[in-house]
């Protein structure tokens, strides 16, 4: 053998080895589908589905699918070109667990020659099926659960997917909310616009975060939701986002609120009791230290109340206190607090209100009470008046005790001056300012 022949021989052998090792099946077919040439991957892939063990004609090996492919092949109107591109087909295999999934590509080279490429995609198909199955399960769970709403947000907090469970809880349809910021679902009275940002930042940092608050509901008022937000970490950063699970606990919240209200309410008049007032006032004072917003108290006492009790009886006395409490409630804002400190003594807690405005409130209350008439048991219309003491929390160190003491002194001064009047406490903001100036 010449050197050239030998070199050719080696090359030929390399080529054979190359084709033996190729992991994808390649076959050359004649016009009838008979395999003229095929690499060894072809035998490996086709053997398990070729029940008779014979691999002569590709279309025969592929069974009913092969018959369909043969028809497509025979009908192909052109002399050359792509006939089938990556068509997937599933075969039941007696020797393997589960079905075999192959993909087939046929390219016609000439009227008598077609190239076939066959790949075993069993593994890939199984992965895809598992993914689809997992998604179906999760969706079924999301859709079926009651009382919980499950939805997903993109990383900026816009609603990305909206499940049936979310539709049920919030009563909004997917097309009404998808793409909009999650915060548009918050109840309008929700005080903190940072709520969503805080929630997502917390989740991004710790993997999850939770929150309770009011949400909008399309038809039936609002709902109190307890939510957990979890991060969806994705290898592709563009796909990262959040899953939110919100549970509607409005009923539980109402019951709790009722309970809290009972504990915080003065049983006779329905306004806050002393303890509830002290909690609220302490909180407001704390807040004032940060915000430097003004804060005032107005202490109110019914004049000659003992005489009303003695003359008309305790029942009428109680009616007078209720009428006074209602008048106070009618003259304050939602953020203000009306409380009964005991006996015939009431107090108003007025956040973001300076002394002058507090005095104006006190005067409006006082003149309104002058107009009141309460019917006694004997038919007499009982009229009464109030005296008030006004104080503004004038410096950061003011304690609630100090403020109550100052208001009390002012109230005493009003009584001393003849009752049915309002007096601003000495040492209150304005008077301190005056004192400093002079």
């Amino acid at each position: 053998m010449s050197d050239a022949d030998e070199a050719l021989e080696v090359e030929h052998e390399s080529l054979l080895a190359f084709l033996y090792l190729c992991p994808v099946a390649i076959a050359q077919l004649d016009a009838s589908g008979t395999i003229e040439m095929m690499n060894s991957a072809g035998a490996r892939i086709l053997q398990p589905i070729a029940h008779g063990g014979s691999i002569e004609n590709l279309f025969d090996v592929l069974g009913p699918f092969g018959a369909e492919v043969r028809a497509i092949h025979d009908r192909f109107p052109h002399e050359r070109g792509s006939i089938i591109e990556g068509r997937r087909v599933t075969f039941a295999s007696p020797r393997r667990e589960g079905p075999v999934v192959l993909s087939l590509t046929l390219v016609k080279i000439s009227p008598v020659r077609t190239m076939a490429v066959i790949a075993d995609e069993t593994e890939r198909a199984a992965q895809e099926r598992a993914a689809v199955r997992a998604e179906r399960r999760v969706r079924a769970a999301f859709d079926q659960i009651r009382d919980y709403a499950v939805f997903a947000l993109d990383r900026d907090g816009a609603i990305e997917t909206w499940s049936k469970s979310a539709e049920r809880v919030f009563q909004f349809q997917a097309q009404e909310v998808v793409g909009r910021p999650c915060s548009t679902l918050y109840d309008e009275e929700e005080p903190t616009p940072e709520r969503l940002g805080d929630l997502l930042a917390g989740a991004a940092k710790n993997g999850w975060s939770d929150d309770e608050g009011w949400w909008k509901r399309k038809h039936e008022g609002r709902l109190w939701g307890s939510s957990v937000v979890a991060v969806i970490d994705d290898e592709c950063p563009g796909d990262a986002g959040f899953v939110v699970v919100t549970r509607d606990i409005t009923q539980k919240k109402r019951e709790e609120d009722d309970l809290r209200l009972t504990a915080a309410t003065d049983f006779l008049t329905g306004v806050h009791n002393r303890r509830s007032f002290e909690d609220a006032a302490t909180r407001e004072l704390e807040e004032r230290r940060q915000s430097r917003e003004p804060l005032s108290l107005v202490m109110i006492d019914a004049d000659h109340f003992k005489k009303v009790n003695d003359t008309y009886g305790h029942g009428t006395g109680d009616d007078v206190l209720k009428a006074l409490a209602n008048t106070l409630k009618a003259h304050v804002r939602a953020i203000d607090i009306v409380a009964r400190l005991g006996g015939e003594e009431f107090v108003l807690l007025l956040p973001r209100t300076d002394e002058a405005n507090a005095f104006a409130v006190a005067e409006r209350v006082r003149t309104a009470v002058e107009q009141l008439g309460v019917s006694a048991a004997d038919g007499t219309v009982v009229r009464f008046t109030v005296s008030t003491g006004v104080v503004e929390a004038s410096h950061a160190a003011a304690s609630l005790e100090d403020l109550l003491h100052l208001a009390d002194e002012a109230l005493y001064e009003a009584k001393r001056q003849g009752r049915n009047r309002s007096i601003v406490a000495t040492g209150s903001a304005t008077q301190l300012a005056v004192a400093t100036a002079s």
Partner: protein
């Protein structure tokens, strides 16, 4: 010795590469981890691969991946084995029906894949 010789394993173990050349069927002798030790002329002619190309390589993954499946390669994971199996090889790019005999026995340091034209 012919392909169907009963209890062929011990006889094969006694044959050196030269003696394997005289056989009228293909012999692939492998270590228990699948490395090719001997590849006789009959087998070489069938596949078109010379012994020097395949000796020392892992048979099921580097020489004949078409046998790397549950029908052939996986069988060698069992203990002893002596089984005939009709099979299709694509030798020199043509599908060809062959008969395989898978041989492995306790106490031997070799395992064999024998090939005969059907």
């Amino acid at each position: 010795m012919d392909f169907a010789h009963a209890d062929i394993g011990p006889s094969l173990d006694t044959l050196d590469s030269e003696a394997l050349e005289g056989l009228e069927f293909g012999v692939v002798r492998m270590s228990l981890d699948g490395r090719v030790d001997a590849y006789n002329g009959y087998e070489s002619k069938l596949s078109g691969l010379s012994p020097s190309r395949v000796i020392g390589k892992h048979f099921f993954s580097e020489v004949a991946p078409c046998t790397n499946n549950v029908l052939v390669a996986s069988r060698y994971e069992e203990g002893s084995l002596d089984e005939e199996l009709p099979y299709v090889f694509t030798l020199r790019m043509k599908p060809r029906k062959v008969m395989l005999r898978l041989v492995k026995r306790d106490g031997s340091k070799w395992q064999y894949l024998l090939v005969r034209d059907q």
